[in-house]
Amino acid sequence: MRPGDSNRAINEMRKIENIRKISVVTGEYDIVIRVEVKTLDKLLDVTDKIQMIKGVNKTTTQVIEKEIAL
């Protein structure tokens, strides 16, 4: 993220469909977003929309292959 834009950017992200969770974090990254989609095509839609938001400098996508959760 570019400093100064995060609040507005988060509000825009909250409107995007298929986003399940938005976490603001400290460390190398600024925001972690969890997305659930039916096809990779739809994933592209989401990443596209995120990258279109002003203030987003860089995104990296990790596709979940397997998960264990409580």
Binding site: R14, I19, K21, S23, V24, T26, Y29, V32, A69
Partner: protein, 412 residues
Amino acid sequence: MKIRKKYLFYALAFTSSIIAALLSGIDVILENYLKNPWVLGLSIFYFGVLMSFIFSLILSIPYKGKSLGARTIDPTFSRIRLLRKEELKYHLLAGAGNAILTVGYFALLIIIKDPSVVLPFSQLVILYLITIESVTEKNTPTLVEVQSSIIVTFGAILGSISLSGTISLEALAIVFLIINPGWVLLSINQRKLKMMKVDKKPNDAINIRLWNVTFACLFTAIFALTFDYYNGTNNFINAIYASINQFGWLILVGIGTFFSFVFYIRALGIGKASVTQAVKSSVIIFTIPVSIALAYFGFIDPITADPILILIKVMGIILMILGIVSFALTLIKAYIFIKMKPGYPIEETMQKLWGIHGVNRVTAVAGEYDFIIKVRTRTLVKGYERILQKIESIEGIKEYKWQSVLKEWEDI
């Protein structure tokens, strides 16, 4: 719509307790007519099953591609469904817990009558939960957890001081040996059910409640029949008559309990069982106006206006709120992004990560990193000692990044 996860959790838990407080008032009114815990418990469960079934059916109606239930109460709900084999064990245990809890609760209500006294004592269940979580959920309680649960407990004891009567030993025995263990059984198994995946989707609160009440009814009926058989009483039949005679009140209880539980289970899916229980213990605050109303209409003995008693009760409630707040505000969450060296088995590392205390999600991903894990801890020291040091000691890990969560939104 996305709202802060924290608010959603509180909204759910508080709504559940307000409904529960109102219900306790209706329970007292019913108790005035039916003076037997078996008859009360059974007739309420008969209606509970009926009402839950009707509501689950209504909520299953699809509207613009999604069911009404998914739109309003729980987004993971699709429609009413049959029990899965893997759920059965937990449902049997949760149902038995609910049956024990309910009959115990009515036995207590018949002795004490005033709901603002009965309910605080049931809140002591938090101590049982903390202990059990420490044993089963790979989580040792921190100082904050121990402190907060002690504060909540003392608050509950002070808050339970009756404004009209006293507490009896018999009542205490029912609380500690019957009601609270029943709650623990119910609460833990319900959480397990909520955490389960059914047809690769998270389990939904509505079906869990429907099946829980069905099993609870079954167990109560079995217990009541056994009791009838050995004592020559006729509770099972009397409960059927009672459900016909007290139709109106029972329908209200059926509807109220269904929603109170659905909200509670949904909250359980978000927070830890002990924290959810802490928030839900706010029910004792809401029972005070209910008790005052009941006394006003003559269902329970009039409230004495002894200022010292009132002061102690208020102190108890303040303590409870303090305990609840410190419980909720001291949780630290973080994501840890992990890169592996080549040549180490993913599956094995995943299990090792999963075995670390405080890790509640392990995700194997494709991309720049190999794993993203989510951890929860009460203090950063604990996060370092119990989580990071363990991760460093796992063979094959090349690099990791700790990202503390500052704020979080979730889809509801």
